[in-house]
């Protein structure tokens, strides 16, 4: 694909594409405008890749300059080099060159938000101590001017140890050319002077370095002094002995937490500098600001939150439906065309039931994921996500989590995979894992087809008061998911993940109109990551399930089918012949499946599931659903010999009349309710397991999650069936 495209680019253009001669990392506070600047400078020359052994994706791009090219790396936002959340730690590790096989960047492009210099200058002091070349982009100058803030660049420069400062308004493009032209020279420029705010710290570090046999960089010593859990502390203690380090730390911090002393020293300096450099003109509060202030009052804010969430849900579920139906129809049509043009057999089945169905099962998620991502990115870009975390913090605290878990939890109603990736912003590790384990309980979109089928078949379409019974059962299933997830988080936080209440120190950005270009680029990026993470797994799993249901082939069944068809052709004609052949083929498919690996597995485990009221057919469908629950309805269609793309009505009537060998009905109400509960609580999704494995970087949590949820689902279904059948 890429090769194909590259071949079409005229040769003259390729000559002008220079290879990057140096790498700069973009670093700054969250919401300071890093991604927007990155997008503006690199255009669409970006790639999303991996750091070896690290969860967070690497965003890199090249800036083409007059005589050279520079690689830019975009990083998650940070407030300090401490780094609390997974996202923040990666940013710190990258700029300090702590990631294996990834050299430290040659210099830094520090993004300072002109409207939030207070926190920006705090981080900048820490960065200055790294002693690497750097350049500052002062973003949001347009907003600052509109707010009556006048910043003296000369005063700032005087205090910032010679770092070049470039004021820009990224969204309008003002100042970008000057900044761009300066990028080429950064890596060869001298590092800034040490910050004036806290000379004792660097002096203490230098004294320690003098006493070392193999000196380490000054920033490593500073980090070790400030962060007792730092990797460098051990190395230092080995070289110098514990007492000398302890003494240095005591002189600097006495009995206070090091970062508290650091905050006092550095912010005092920031205040002095800003006092000198900032002029705030009195401005009239604009109507917009007044309206926003009203919306931040407790009740309006909460009301707005629920309205926004209702809107997101409405969009995810109703706007996506036509698209999903379209994709389904396309897959069915394509399969039909292939089966009509290829001789029946393994190749045709592989293409239709394996490949097309597999790709379809990935694509069918896309509309919902796309709409979900679109809304989340808009909310994030406008600054609303932090506000949502703020509003819901109290509620989440009751189960031991913080407001930061709200958005991942809500996302998991569409799909657990992006939800689990979204937990990277959670600063408390235990709260993050608890959220990861709660997310798969939420009713994701892959559960809906099974819910819909079973509810339509077995729950009477009656009204209860002003509600419909079928709707009530569906609502109940959603509640069961929420209950299961929150209880799990609550229990884990009380046992395995016991620890102090998660901190909640969150900056609340002000409202901003989202920028279209930023939103679209972020959207494409997340879709791409989703397809790579989840898509590949879902597709592979679909192929494996197809193979288990296809092999081994019994040739006797095929010959019997041929004979039956020949016989039918001699006695029937027209419409009734077509129907008869369809019937014969479906029965043959059911017979094949019954003796396939999947069918055999269903029979093999029937004793395990019969206490739940499931016969081998249901068991086989459930087993097929373990790798990915999306295939269950199709497998049921084949097993009950109505064809896998059957009309729902014909499958429903088959299910209703399915019996045990002794004539009892299989699908009784208690059995169906148990089966629904099983689907609500089981972790039947390999993509989710894979992403848990990746994000927690261990096998322990995916194995635990799978076992725990399976046991929970099984026990629940067992209780409902056993008690229900005795009533």
């Amino acid at each position: 694909m890429t090769d194909h495209c590259a071949a079409r680019v005229p040769v003259e253009k390729i000559k002008f594409r220079r290879r990057a001669s140096a790498t700069l990392a973009i670093i700054g506070n969250p919401n300071s405008g890093k991604s927007t600047l990155f997008n503006r400078l690199t255009g669409l020359r970006q790639t999303t890749g991996n750091y070896p052994g690290v969860t967070v994706e690497k965003h890199a791009g090249t800036v083409q300059l007059e005589s050279t090219a520079i690689e830019l790396v975009d990083l998650p936002g940070i407030y300090c080099l401490g780094g609390y959340s997974a996202d923040e730690r990666i940013a710190v590790d990258v700029i300090l060159g702590r990631i294996a096989d990834t050299p430290a960047p040659g210099g830094l492009l520090v993004v300072l938000d002109a409207t939030h210099l207070y926190q920006g200058l705090y981080l900048l002091q820490q960065l200055m101590e790294m002693q690497v070349p750097m350049i500052v982009a002062l973003t949001m100058t347009d907003v600052a001017t509109a707010n009556g803030i006048d910043i003296s660049i000369d005063v700032l420069k005087k205090h910032l140890g010679g770092i070049p400062i470039f004021p820009v308004a990224t969204t309008t493009g003002r100042g970008l050319d000057a900044l761009k032209a300066a990028l080429a020279g950064v890596v060869d420029s001298p590092p800034p002077q040490m910050p004036e705010s806290w000379p004792e710290l660097s002096q203490a570090a230098d004294r320690l370095i003098e006493q070392m046999d193999t000196p380490v960089p000054r920033i490593d010593v500073i980090q070790a002094l400030l962060h007792p859990d730092s990797v460098h502390l051990e190395i230092l203690e080995q070289q110098l002995g514990k007492p000398r380090i302890a003494e240095a730390r005591f002189t600097l911090f006495a009995d206070e937490p090091p970062q508290a002393v650091e905050a006092r020293r550095r912010y005092r300096w920031v205040r002095d500098v800003l006092g000198e450099a900032l002029q705030q003109a009195p401005i009239l509060e604009r109507f917009e600001a007044k309206a926003l202030r009203w919306l931040n009052l407790p009740w309006p804010a909460t009301l707005l939150f629920f309205t926004v969430m209702a809107l997101v849900f409405q969009a995810v579920f109703s706007w996506a439906t036509p698209l999903m139906d379209g994709i389904d129809a396309l897959a069915v049509g394509l399969s039909g065309w292939v089966s009509a043009h290829l001789p029946a057999g393994m190749v045709s089945s592989f293409i239709t039931d394996g490949v097309i169905a597999g790709v379809g099962s990935v694509l069918v998620f896309l509309p919902q994921i796309l709409i979900l991502f679109l809304f989340i990115i808009i909310l994030e870009d406008s600054g609303y996500l932090a506000r949502a975390a703020f509003l819901m913090d109290r509620v989440m605290r009751s189960v031991g989590l913080s407001g930061q878990s709200v958005i991942p939890m809500l996302s998991s109603f569409a799909c657990a995979v992006p939800a689990i990736m979204a937990t990277r912003v959670i600063s408390d590790r235990r709260a993050r894992i608890a959220t990861i384990l709660a997310a798969p309980f939420m009713t994701c979109s892959a559960r809906l087809p099974i819910y819909a089928l079973l509810i339509a078949a077995f729950v009477p379409d009656e009204s209860v008061g002003w509600m419909n019974l079928q709707g009530l059962v569906l609502l109940g299933l959603y509640m069961l998911g929420i209950l299961g997830g929150l209880t799990t988080a609550w229990m884990l936080k009380r046992t395995a993940l016991r620890g102090p209440k998660p901190d909640f120190a969150l900056a609340l950005p002000e409202f901003r109109w989202p920028n279209l270009q930023t939103v679209l680029i972020k959207l494409m990026d997340r879709i791409y990551i989703f397809l790579r993470r989840a898509g590949t797994v879902i597709f592979t799993v679909a192929i494996i399930v197809w193979a288990l249901a296809f092999f081994p082939r019994a040739s006797a069944i095929q010959t019997d089918m041929q004979t039956a068809i020949v016989q039918a052709e001699s006695t029937l004609s027209g419409e009734s012949l077509q129907q008869q052949i369809f019937q014969i083929e479906n029965e043959a498919a059911a017979a094949q499946l019954s003796q396939s690996f999947l069918g055999r597995a269903g029979r093999f485990v029937e004793p395990v599931f019969s206490p739940l009221g499931w016969d081998w057919r249901v068991s086989a469908a459930v087993i097929a659903g373990f790798p990915a629950r999306g295939v269950v309805v199709a497998v049921m269609g084949t097993i009950y010999a109505v064809g896998e793309k059957a009309e729902e009505a014909s499958l429903v009537s088959k299910l209703r009349s399915a019996t045990w060998p002794d004539g009892r009905l299989v699908f009784t109400l208690p059995m169906v309710l148990g089966l629904l509960l099983f689907y609500a609580w089981c972790l039947q999704c390999t993509a989710t397991l894979a992403v848990i494995r990746r994000e927690t970087n261990s096998w322990r949590w995916p194995i635990f999650a799978w076992t725990y949820m399976t046991v929970l689902g099984y026990t629940g279904a067992l209780l409902i069936y056993q008690i229900g059948s005795r009533l």
């Binding site: 409207t115 705090y122 508290a260 905050a263 205040r271 407790p298 901190d503 120190a505």
Partner: protein, 78 residues
């Protein structure tokens, strides 16, 4: 008086921060330190967490931590 007891729209200067309490250092890293002038914003429903701005940046802070920041109110017409 501590940050806990402030009213929406009130301004104050932070006098003393008890950094030994859990979760307080995180807030200091965001700029809530001695000498900083803060403006109290709106709380969430139920009065917790609270919103406090310093130098134009709003920060969310839980009631429990807010009790560790001693403040003196400033007249808003200063």
């Amino acid at each position: 008086m501590t940050l806990r007891e402030m009213q929406a729209g009130q301004k104050a200067r932070i006098e003393k921060v008890d950094a030994s309490q859990p979760g307080v250092v995180r807030l200091m890293v965001l700029g809530l330190i001695e000498g900083a002038e803060v403006l109290f914003g709106n709380a969430a429903i139920g009065g917790d967490p609270l919103e406090v701005s310093v130098f134009g940046s709003a920060i969310s802070i839980r009631k429990q931590q807010a009790g560790n920041f001693r403040v003196t109110p400033i007249d808003s017409n200063d």
